[in-house]
Amino acid sequence: MSFITKTKDGLVHGFLNSSRAFLIGTGLLASSMAVLAPVSAQAEMVLNRGNGSEPGSLDPQITEDVPASHILRDLFEGLVGEAPSGDIVPGDAESWTVSEDGLTYTFKIRDDAKWSNGEPVTAGDFVYAWQRAVDPKTGSEYSFLLAPIKNAEDITAGKKDPSELGAKAIDDKTLEVDLAGPTPYFLGLLTHSVSYPVYKPAVEKFGDQWTRPDNSVTNGAFKLIEWNPQSRIVLAKNDQYWNADSVKLDKVIYYPTESTTAELKRYRAGELDWTYEVPNDQIKWIRDNMNDEFVVSNYLGVYYYGFNMTKPPFDNAKLREAFSLAINRDILMDKIVTAGEVPAYSYVVPGMNGYDPVYVNFKDMPQKERNEKAYKLYQEAGYSKDNPLTVEIRYNTNDNHKKIAIAIASMWKSVLGAKVNLVNEEFKVFLETRKAKEKTQVFRAGWIGDYNDPNTFLELWKSDSGLNDTGFADPEYDKLMDEASKEQDSAKRMKLLEDAERIFLDANAVAPIYHYVTKHMIKPYVKGWDADGKGHVNVLDHVRSQYLYIEK
């Protein structure tokens, strides 16, 4: 050490000493805190949840990522809530009525609905939040979910003033919402954070900083007490919550963990009680060693390959069908995607209430027959093993996508004799390429539903949708979707949507590959998440901490 202590200006000396002091200081602080910690603190019921990446924002109208949505479901409560099963239950609205024509919803806000500072939650809070969401100045990425509300789209486009939004506070406890057209899934939309109320005085006083722990005012089962970016977000039980008596956890701590491998290690070391994900390459090990804690549940999402229909060769419908037929989904699920994902023969995830699943026409055909049919169609399109087609599968850089692409390429090669090249691009580059429809032939894509209704999948394929990177455009499809959006009779509406999906699947614009599952590691002592009594979380993976508790 002497060579350092001899320096005259003490720069290095100071720098190194401060580090050492920090280390010693933290040690002393930690040990003194441990000694001084009150006994009651040890009896706290705390849940440690892994939560993917750092949330982009904790502002309900601004945020758009899944990790943030988990936290916001704990911090805020919309007009409606969700039971562990995922079913919609009354939230801050204790009841609601819908007009005959389905265009007007009237919500009755609970008398005991309060903000964390004790102030009552009013209908005006919802009006304020929704106007904020559709206001162009806010820059909300999910404001399109509120599009069914009258004038919402015009306001976002800057044609009307936010005050013209079809949501009015009749009085403090009565909210009236006028819709542009009957929207049978409207209540489902209200489970999304973009529709949560926000506390106007806090937003106006603190601006961008109103979501900080010191400034944050929330109306959910929990309140924000610490937010250390990339480290942890701590929520404590909100005693002002109208249903606080039913909330058992004292604290929920969310840990951002981009690396699923690191997250699993923290779980195994006992630092986490719940993981956001599990690394795919360790599923076999988990099944062999920790299967009791491995919870796999169906998820409202679909993984698919899209064909660029705007350019040769895939402007040819026969070719698209041939390539979809030649994918052996069972082998993919057995050998490549092994967590229990379901082979997909539809675009809408089967099992939605009242929706009769629509499947591609080859669902019940044995793979051998599919392959024969595929080759026949391939030949009809003008190709053969002697005159092969060269195609390119494009995906965003990711090990799983790569494995799937390699497997599918070899299937296409052996069944059709096609020459397949794989191209991977970094995610943002890939999105840009896909949107341009210039270079793409076959591309990977996926979609997770925002709410539990087929519309969340089918609206993507309208001619003007923001995820329609195949170029699929069918006036009949658009017409059916439009009719469905106006149809009040639930059964008739579902029929219209089923007809629309039939058109879409018959066009083979996409090759559905599998329906996603959610994969969590959950400690055996964490209770309250079981959606169906069979050890699954709900299909939306909306697990609200207000239902969870620890039983050791």
Partner: protein
Amino acid sequence: MLGFTLKRLLGAIPTLFIIVTLSFFLIRTAPGGPFDKERSVPPEVAANLNAVYHLDEPLWMQYGRYLGDVIQGDFGPSFQYRDFTVTELIFRGFPVSLTLGGSAIFLALIIGTTLGTLAALKQNSKLDYAVMATAMTGITIPNFVMAPLLTLVFGVYLRWLPVGGWEQGWDQVVLPIVALALPQIAYIARLTRGSMIEVLRSNFVRTARAKGIPEHIMITRHALKAGILPVVSYLGPASAAVITGSVVIEQIFSIPGIGRYFVQGALNRDYTLVMGVVIFYGSLIILFNLLVDLVYGLLDPKVRMQ
């Protein structure tokens, strides 16, 4: 000394200006923008977002605006972490990265010089071979392999130390600091050994011994002061290595330092965040190299003269 320092600091300004300009335009040439997601937002919303963040202005105007803000110490809002400004994120992450990196360098210096000196004193003994073999292992195993191994052994199997997190207990810092320091310990041990062997054979050491100066004083006061010079020169590159290494380590141990923002920022096209971190790291490396030169001058009178 003061003149030299001022000259060096002034010389850093054009360097930083070039770094800012290059990285500003480089990151903008990457396809895709901060608001590109799996599903594109409706065009009106995209237009609103671009207007909110001035992305609808010509690039040169954005560059001018950015430069003006930076000069005033404002690194702008983060596109990805929309509740925070870049300045805030950097100043929250910096103490963490500094503690992590500083402690790792400090640990590497102490252990590396000690091991290197011992190996030099016991040249060609079993101890020497053991130290050098360990050092070679430390250099050849990259930290993205070593770190998970450490977490597996000490965190998962033995349960002695936490495998992730920061600020919830002193024990959380142990594994990341060790993981980050290991390769540096190895380098410094090798450097110290080599230069100490040379110094121990030099005339002034022989004279000191002939005068009867006790061995431990001779080593710490005389030999080490000369033998440490190559290590001091190495501290510049070492700090750069620690900074880049901490990007990996922070990810593996879930540490809220600046390194994580660098990776996330680049992937999310969070222009302002990436720029902020680049400028910050750039300044840090310039400053560190200056410090190293100053320390070198203090230790070596010949350099001071020059």
